[in-house]
């Protein structure tokens, strides 16, 4: 489904942040860098369950519609505009969800 060997960086505007079980999603409107006049492409960015995100510092309020963010995703192999999140940078330029390596061994 997702190609873990590839990473795509997307910068766009949040359309929606779904904080739902079983998985959270960000719908991101991404402009075409080669044609700013073209309508943006809507990407679906899949994440883990809400409790998994909370563990890593995310909250339901971490992103909201209208926020300009950058995400790195493993893209879908079938070429549709979707991906599995790897990391995210918020409107303030800081990583969203300060990942404290929550459960890694010291």
């Amino acid at each position: 489904m997702f190609d873990s060997e590839k990473q795509v960086t997307l910068t766009g505007t949040v359309k929606e942040f779904e904080w739902n079980n079983p998985h959270c999603w960000i719908q991101l409107l991404v402009p075409d860098p080669n044609d700013p006049s073209a309508p943006p492409v809507e990407w679906g960015v899949e994440m883990g369950a809400p409790i998994q995100l909370l563990r890593h510092g995310w909250k339901p309020s971490s992103v909201k519609p209208g926020d300009k963010i950058t995400v790195v995703v493993n893209p879908l192999r079938d070429g549709r505009p979707g991906g599995q999140i790897v990391s995210a940078i918020g409107p303030d330029g800081k990583p969203i969800g300060a990942v404290p390596e929550a459960n890694n061994k010291p």
Partner: protein
Amino acid sequence: MMAVLLLVGCVKLAQAQTSSQERVEACAKLPDWSGLWEWDVYVGEGVGQVLSPEGLRKAKAYAATMRPTFTPAWQPKYEQARKAMDDAVAANPGEPPVGRSPCAVAPFPATMMPGFYEWRVTPEEATLISSQGGVRHIYTDGRPHPQADELWPTTEGNSIGHWDGDTLVVDTVAIRNPSIVVIAEPFEPAFSTGPLSTELHTIERIRMVNHDEMQIQLTLEDPVALTKPIHMTITHERVRNFDRMEDTRDADCDAVTDRNPVVNGRFTTVVKPAPATPAQPSK
């Protein structure tokens, strides 16, 4: 703190039921399994669902330990299930087959794999609560399994157990649609036992080997499906710096929020949800 709460819970239950000093003492002798636990392949996983390199290595090692050999009578069922999986992969290599929705509770023994776990241990019962919706009631009060005419297959099966020192020995029967899937690639079921029969009988020896590791030695015996038992050892690690449990299969996990629906046996992805339908005015 959790240990204190567990003991207080035990004492309150004792007061309510028997007020017996013996039972309070029995509670005090039980091991402290408080805290959150998770299968060690998920250690280091981020906010997505891609295993860490170390988690992937461990998953592959688990898969290597599971090599079932099927009885002649069961082999066609396995091959049929395997063919269905292979056909689904061939039809769309981008969407691996899973066979059940992420909103469905995994049947035991798969219960012991993804998600967070909490234990509640009392003299009468050890209860395992999974964040993925499964709850296992393991009766340790000396009762046997129910008589055949009061036993039917369920998702978690029927479990009885006893303590062998600090090891919980669990005997489970009557499991509905049992199977094990080890995820050895991100989202890719690299190995599966395939379907097993409802004659599956499992024995677990569960103990905390140190403060941060719970070891589960699992034996699967299935005289209908398997020519010999499968033995595997699963390690659950203590979840650090996080202590909140939530059920990820709760009521908001449904056909609307589940954007990985299983369609024709394949795990699919909805990248753009349909617009919400306006509520119809009541008549």
